[in-house]
């Protein structure tokens, strides 16, 4: 194979795809649109939060039932104030005085513990005209008042421990029953498990997205070549192997560029959002390190098979149907993901590591979930199998490609196809 010719085909195919409006919109427009959308949402939220922050955080409390424990209040410039969770609750003797301060805008709301509170349980919440009804629901003021009332009601009437449990009935401590007995699960471990299962899933979906996106371009380009009848001109200049390799590299580069732009955005957002998370969980670096190699090998293997079979189709729709089988084989690990996550190094995981259709995704999942259970020779071996399979699939693919490329009308029998491809 001549590198210069492969490079010429690859450059042409790459340029043909990346100049298309549909590609530019999908690659750059979509992330920009999503960034604008999320920017708008975040911007709007920030604006309203800022506005809310600018509002008074002072609330009035009138205790007509005389049940509130005054111990939490402190004297400040002639008034009694309780400060909790950045809220200031001012105690008023009468509701008239509180209403005046509410009208003047000093207070956001006034809570009146009604005289018959003990029998009715009613606490009147009065808001100003400007404050939307129910807007207090999102604040911490009402839970604070509830706990203050609960504490006030039981204070001195129960044993200290019972009093505490009435106020805070339960703290849940989570644990798992494993082979070594029951083990307490910390929050870090729960997060780690989440990340360990999320990342393989995320990597798998990204791999498949890249693969299916790039192979979509492959199917499209073969259909274009067949429909535009340029095949004979190409085959009179370059070998089927060179065309196949050029298309694989060119369109693979276009697919990977798209993938890189998308994942860069996702990674950027994820890193920004989870800077704190990353400090407490372990990122599966081994899986991330081998992912690009497996991406490329998997793409070349499946892509060459897809190109060859796509060439057998009479048009784009037929080509897509013919190539669907390869895509189904590639997503097999995702179909059995539950088993793989549960038992990454079980017999299923071990077998799928050596099958070139499933090995890229399986190795990534196994490394990400439990890297100690997969031997280095398994990783290297699966790559070697994938490499050899890629070479074989390119050779067979190129022969089928030559025959399929020139096919018109009805599909010949498999025997005839094989005879022509020899």
């Amino acid at each position: 194979m001549r590198i210069q010719r492969i490079s010429a085909v690859a450059r042409f195919e790459f340029a043909s795809v990346v100049k298309r409006w549909s590609y530019l919109i999908a690659t750059f427009g979509l992330p920009v649109f999503l960034a604008l959308l999320s920017g708008t949402v975040i911007g709007a939220q920030t604006y309203f939060l800022t506005q809310r922050a600018a509002e008074s955080s002072e609330f009035g409390l009138v205790d007509e039932a005389d049940v509130i424990d005054l111990g939490v209040f402190e004297e400040r410039e002639g008034t009694r104030v309780w400060t909790a969770n950045a809220n200031e609750i001012v105690l008023y003797d009468t509701s008239d005085a509180a209403s005046r301060d509410l009208e003047s805008g000093r207070l956001r709301a006034v809570y009146v513990v009604e005289k018959d509170y003990l029998s009715s349980g009613e606490v009147r919440a009065i808001q100003s005209e400007k404050t939307p009804l129910l807007s207090m629901g999102g604040t911490t003021i009402e839970p604070l008042l509830r706990s203050l009332l609960r504490k006030s009601l039981v204070e001195g009437r129960l044993d200290h421990d019972v009093q505490e449990r009435v106020i805070s009935p339960a703290y849940f401590v989570r644990s798992r029953l494993g082979p070594d007995g029951e083990q307490v699960t910390g929050v870090d471990e729960a997060l780690d498990l989440l990340v360990r299962t999320t990342i393989p899933l995320f990597l798998g979906i990204l791999l498949l997205t890249a693969l299916l996106s790039a192979s979509g371009y492959l199917v499209q380009t073969v259909s274009t070549d067949k429909e535009s009848k340029i095949v004979e001109v190409l085959l009179s200049s370059v070998t089927p192997e060179e065309i196949l390799a050029g298309k694989l590299f060119g369109l693979g580069a276009a697919g990977l560029l798209q993938f890189a732009v998308w994942s860069s955005m996702v990674v950027f957002v994820a890193l920004t959002a989870s800077a704190a998370l990353a400090a407490v969980v372990s990122i599966p670096w081994q899986a991330l390190a081998v992912a690009p190699v497996l991406f490329i090998l998997g793409y070349l293997f499946l892509g060459s098979l897809m190109l060859a079979t796509a060439a057998l189709g009479a048009n784009a729709a037929e080509s897509q149907k013919l190539t669907m089988g390869w895509a189904m084989l590639a997503i097999l690990p995702l179909m059995v993901l539950v088993i793989l996550l549960d038992e990454p190094n079980g017999i299923l995981g071990q077998v799928m590591t050596w099958i070139p259709f499933t090995s890229p995704l399986t190795v990534i999942i196994r490394l990400a979930v439990d890297s100690s259970g997969i031997a280095w020779w398994e990783v290297i071996g699966s790559m070697a199998v994938l490499l050899v399979s890629t070479w074989v699939s390119i050779r067979i693919g190129a022969r089928l490609f030559r025959v399929g490329f020139l096919l018109t009308g009805s599909m010949p029998s498999l025997a005839e196809l094989w005879r022509q491809a020899r």
């Binding site: 001549r2 210069q4 010719r5 010429a8 085909v9 042409f12 043909s16 274009t224 070549d225 535009s228 009848k229 340029i230 095949v231 004979e232 001109v233 190409l234 085959l235 009179s236 200049s237 370059v238 070998t239 030559r402 020139l406 010949p412 029998s413 005839e416 022509q420 020899r422």
Partner: protein
Amino acid sequence: MGILAYRGVSKRFGKHSALEDVSLEVRPGEVFGLLGPNGAGKTTLIRIGLDILRPDDGEVSLFGAAPEPKTLDRTAYLPEERGVYRRAKVRELLAYLGRLKGLKRTAARTAADHWLERVGLSRVADQRVESLSKGMTQKVQIAACLMTDPELCVLDEPFSGLDPVNVALITSLIEERRRSGQTTVLSTHMMHQVEALCDRVALIHRGRLVVYGQLDEIRRRYSPNEVIVWTATDLLAFGVQATLHRAGGWRVELPPSVTPAGYLNELVRNGVLIDRYEPLVARMDEIFVSLVSGGR
């Protein structure tokens, strides 16, 4: 030795035999006509010659050896089923096809510009192919074919869809190739172009080689032994079996033993004043129809 030679080549697709034991060669510097009705096997023969298809039996040699990528760089092919990337720009498409034939990037662009100039399409160099007319697109394809200055150029129906001016342009380009010693294989149904351009021809019918050889010799071989004599003399008065020809002269059918030259001598000896004398030579379209319909 042939620049392109087939020896006993056969090819079948399923149960259909596309070519059967075809042997012929194309010589350096000639314009070789590949003739035959639709579906005769011409395209299959061309594809096998350019290593696009492989024969089931027989051998092919290109520049004296089995076709290989290196020798294919010395050839160019304009298929009957015209193919272009319709969304590509004209110059880009030509440069790309030049690169596939082994030209360096700069050389490919220079050759593209040069050949667009030659076929009168410089003004559309930056337009997309889809914006061109059918004739213009065809000229782009011919430019793509000739831009690498190939030693062997295979043109399948290069005149179809072209107006007379462009037919003349392509004809002159083919003649120019012959003058410079380059070889052209011309597959066409336009028999007057075959007569005007080809040195030798092969006629394929139902996958078999029916006629093959020097054009003049074939025309003579299939010509009737007749002459047309333009004279003021009444040939019937001389006792000659003649009929009036539509071109104005007398059409005389000669006995098999008499040649046109011998008959001319005889007329002159007998004192017939001859204005013009022409042996009837079969036209290629007549030979084509007679061989093809005769086989049906």
